[in-house]
């Protein structure tokens, strides 16, 4: 290759101008590497153009490069890939904390509800116990009163023996004549059949005159089987008959369960 002719062709001037085709550009590069004369000539042409372009420059201020530098950080994104892929821990931790708080609050709420129902239950139990105590106290008072009644010196005890329809039955009448009150202990009577009730009669014997003292109502539910009835009669005997519910005006003698005469056993 004729190097001088190649240089003289003017292709290197066009190379510096950037006016060559890509192909010619590669040729120049290739020859420049191969022939130092060509490389040297390229640098000389460039130097001429550097001088020419420099000669028309305005005077640059001292801050000119600083102004360029100050714009670089704004325009160059730093590590965009890593910052995008960064895991947003703060966000995750925030959500996790919120979730834990919700779980905690719910748990406390449920616990509180449980405790509330427990307190309610205990309160109710307390009430029940209180009622039981009151009931028991009342029962004791009643029993005490009853016992006092039975122990009264004016009380006449009448034993009522079992009759034909119920030979094993028995009852007792505690009659306080002064007070006009009789207490019937009917523990020895069987539970009356449905639709029937026991009726207690005061009897005078000559002539035989029965007077109803009342009904032994709620016989099966009254656990003590002690019935207090008014009796202002001059009773000579007491009898208990089984009568249809509501009682009868006169005793049904066929259903006489127990009978006992006053003074027959004790006269106090």
């Amino acid at each position: 290759m004729d190097i001088e002719k190649y240089i003289a062709s003017g292709i290197l001037e066009l190379y510096i101008a950037g006016a060559l085709s890509a192909e010619e550009n590669l040729d120049v590069q290739h020859y420049a590497l191969q022939y130092p004369e060509i490389q040297k000539e390229i640098e000389a042409i460039e130097e001429a153009m550097l001088q020419l372009t420099k000669s028309t420059s305005p005077e640059l201020s001292d801050t000119s490069f600083k102004k360029v530098l100050s714009r670089l950080d704004d325009t160059i994104p730093f590590l965009p890939a890593t910052s995008e892929k960064r895991i947003p821990w703060a966000s995750y931790v925030g959500w996790a904390a919120s979730l834990l708080l919700i779980i905690g609050m719910t748990w406390l709420y449920l616990q509180n509800n449980d405790l509330k129902s427990e307190i309610e239950l205990t309160n109710k139990e307390n009430e029940d116990l209180q009622q039981t105590i009151t009931k028991t106290q009342n029962t004791i008072v009643e029993k005490e009163a009853l016992l006092q009644e039975l122990r009264n010196k004016n009380v006449t005890v009448v034993a009522l023996g079992g009759q034909k329809v119920a030979p094993t039955s028995f009852a007792k009448a505690y009659w306080n004549k002064n007070k006009g009150q009789g207490i019937i202990d009917s523990q020895g009577l069987p539970t009356p059949p449905a639709g029937y009730t026991y009726q207690i009669w005061s009897l005078t014997l000559d002539p035989l005159t029965p007077t109803s003292l009342g009904l032994l109502d709620n016989f099966d539910t009254d656990t003590s089987k002690m019935f207090t009835l008014p009796n202002t009669n001059d009773s000579q005997a007491f009898g208990i008959t089984l009568e249809p519910e509501g009682g009868s005006p006169t005793p049904t003698m066929e259903q006489l369960y127990v009978l006992g005469t006053v003074g027959h056993m004790f006269l106090l």
């Binding site: 101008a17 950037g18 006016a19 153009m49 420099k54 000669s55 028309t56």
Partner: protein
């Protein structure tokens, strides 16, 4: 440090290398722009724009495709030509000489008065207007050899030998 290493460091976003390149080429870039737009203040601003672009586009420079100077020269003239086409510039209604290098030469003043700088009057001394036109088209307007041949209705071979002789004259003037 040689130019190739400096350019390599700059391409790795080394700001110190970038500043060295700025110091080396700022006046050339600003001079190109000023020759084209003939407005020294605006030229300095555009010159800064060019260096920001150079930094941003550093990856796109490939040493196997041409000289670094050729690469930044291309960015500078494109920026300046865009300015000429912009509204801002048109509104100033400057009556520019069609051929900027001739226009700037005819002002008969040396813009850059630094000691190490050879004045434009010296550099272009004795050059024919045809030479200045050719330099203007190829270096300042970015025409390809084909475009110049078509514009001047001259064969490419003739264009080449003519630009060779024009640049040779400048090189002779440099030694004066």
């Amino acid at each position: 440090m040689n130019l190739d290493d400096l350019i390599q460091q700059f391409q790795q976003k080394d700001k110190i290398a970038f500043e060295k390149l700025y110091t080396m080429y700022a006046e050339n870039i600003c001079g190109v722009i000023n020759t084209i737009i003939q407005n020294p203040e605006r030229a300095e601003e555009l010159c800064q724009d060019v260096f920001v672009k150079i930094w941003e586009k550093s990856d796109s420079y490939n040493p196997t495709k041409g000289r670094f100077f050729t690469w930044i020269l291309n960015i500078a003239r494109n920026t300046a030509i865009d300015e000429l086409r912009s509204k801002t510039h048109k509104n100033q209604k400057k009556n520019l000489h069609v051929h900027s290098l001739v226009g700037i030469f005819e002002k008969r003043e040396d813009l850059n008065s630094k000691v190490d700088t050879i004045g434009i009057q010296t550099l272009l001394k004795g050059l024919k207007e045809k030479c200045m036109l050719l330099i203007d088209l190829l270096y300042y307007k970015g025409y390809t050899q084909k475009e110049v041949a078509k514009e001047l209705n001259t064969p490419i071979g003739t264009i080449k030998t003519r630009i060779r002789s024009c640049i040779s004259e400048i090189r002779k003037n440099m030694k004066l």
